[in-house]
């Protein structure tokens, strides 16, 4: 029986690596401190593998065929994809995959009501490139990337996302080898509106309400109140990336989240923040 040693959720907006100097100095420091704390959490948890969940950003799946959840099964990954190198502004990197863990999720998901698509080729943009740059700067922990549909309606519902997270955790615990240490990491959000009228704005009130709900730890209440309509109202093109956070919440199994950092940042065009669920509690 493998152990889920930790669950994290964090923003991946490219301003963090691409133009952080444009944010106020206090915000820069707060975010670098917060992402530094995330790195220390990862180091202390010593995961054997990171199972990541994030929006696909319409990069791998065209609009005619968008899976809700697609698991990357390759032995190795690289990023950022060519056109995103200038934008994300991190050095090219390679990171190992974990085909056995990935395929276990696909196979066992099929028995437990979750239709995971899978792929051994996936392009990475800011979704993994920004988080990995801060959390595992040596790119030395294997990654199972799960690219999900956060922005092409119909979206998987909040309730479905939480349930998929719970099934993922169950599979990892039941079907992976004993003593394997798994970290679940959702990336995306918080409020932002790429392509909409609020492109240069952030919805701080929504973000703080959302974070408070996660801290309260009542997952039923979260999926009841954090509706897709509510997320869309807080920033149409991007805020529904928080569906990935609800997958993480499902994997964390009803524990209370702790907010690591939060900064509403119009210069980064995103509500930037992170939470951790303590799985030892």
């Amino acid at each position: 029986m493998a152990e889920i040693v930790g669950v994290l959720a964090l923003s991946h907006a490219p301003g963090l690596t691409g133009w952080l100097d444009k944010a106020e100095e206090r915000v820069q420091r707060a975010l670098l401190d917060g992402y530094g704390e995330l790195r220390r959490i990862v180091e202390s948890l010593r995961p054997d593998v990171i199972v990541g969940v994030a929006n696909d950003h319409l990069l791998n799946f065209p609009l005619n065929n968008v899976p809700d959840f697609c698991i990357g099964t390759a032995k190795a990954w690289q990023g950022p994809a060519e056109w995103f190198v200038d934008w994300v502004s991190v050095p090219p990197y390679q990171v190992a995959g974990d085909p056995e863990t990935a395929k276990t999720l696909v196979r066992e998901g099929a028995r437990r009501g979750v239709n995971f698509a899978f792929a051994d080729q996936l392009l990475f943009d800011d979704n993994w490139s920004v988080p990995l740059f801060f959390l595992t700067p040596r790119h030395d922990i294997p990654l199972v990337p799960i690219h999900m549909n956060c922005i092409v309606p119909p979206l998987p519902s909040p309730e479905r996302c939480r349930a998929v997270g719970a099934v993922m955790a169950e599979i990892l615990r039941d079907c992976r080898p004993a003593r394997e240490r798994v970290l679940v990491m959702a990336t995306g959000g918080l409020s932002h509106d790429p392509g909409g009228p609020r492109y240069f704005e952030v919805d701080e009130a929504f973000d703080r309400w959302f974070l408070a709900l996660l801290e309260e730890g009542d997952a039923d209440k979260v999926v009841r109140e954090v509706t897709i309509d509510r997320m869309v109202a807080a920033g149409d093109g991007g805020t529904t990336e928080l569906l990935a956070w609800l997958v993480a919440m499902g994997a964390a199994g009803g524990r209370k989240a702790r907010t690591i950092c939060y900064e509403p940042s119009p210069p980064l065009r995103c509500g930037m923040g992170a939470v951790a669920w303590d799985m030892s509690a």
Binding site: G18, W19, L59, L63, W83, G195
Partner: protein, 103 residues
């Protein structure tokens, strides 16, 4: 506009999807826009919007919102994409200034 109003079948969505994924297609888009446009079976309304770099009309026709800032970067470059960058200002002028003037 918005994600709920996307026209998944709009050919421009396929064009943007492919150009970002393929360096050769991106180079062609930069150097020969008409050649790129000719390959996707676009409507007259789409063709006119692309020629005029009119991302607001592309949005109204059903291009996915997430693609719109990316179109600004296809035209104006992606590096250092802060709020004063050419790409972000392009977005502000084409999407938002017009919105305000139309009330």
């Amino acid at each position: 506009m918005g994600i709920m109003a996307v026209d998944k079948t709009l050919a421009s969505n396929r064009l943007i999807f492919e150009v970002r994924r393929d360096a050769a297609k991106y180079q062609r888009f930069r150097g020969d826009l008409e050649g790129t446009l000719a390959e996707y079976g676009l409507t007259q309304a789409e063709l006119q919007a692309w020629r005029e770099r009119d991302i607001r009309t592309l949005a109204q026709l059903g291009v996915h919102p997430y693609f719109l800032p990316q179109v600004s970067r296809l035209f104006e470059g992606a590096a250092r994409n802060h709020n004063q960058s050419r790409a972000a200002q392009f977005y502000a002028q084409r999407m938002l200034a017009e919105e305000k003037s139309r009330g």
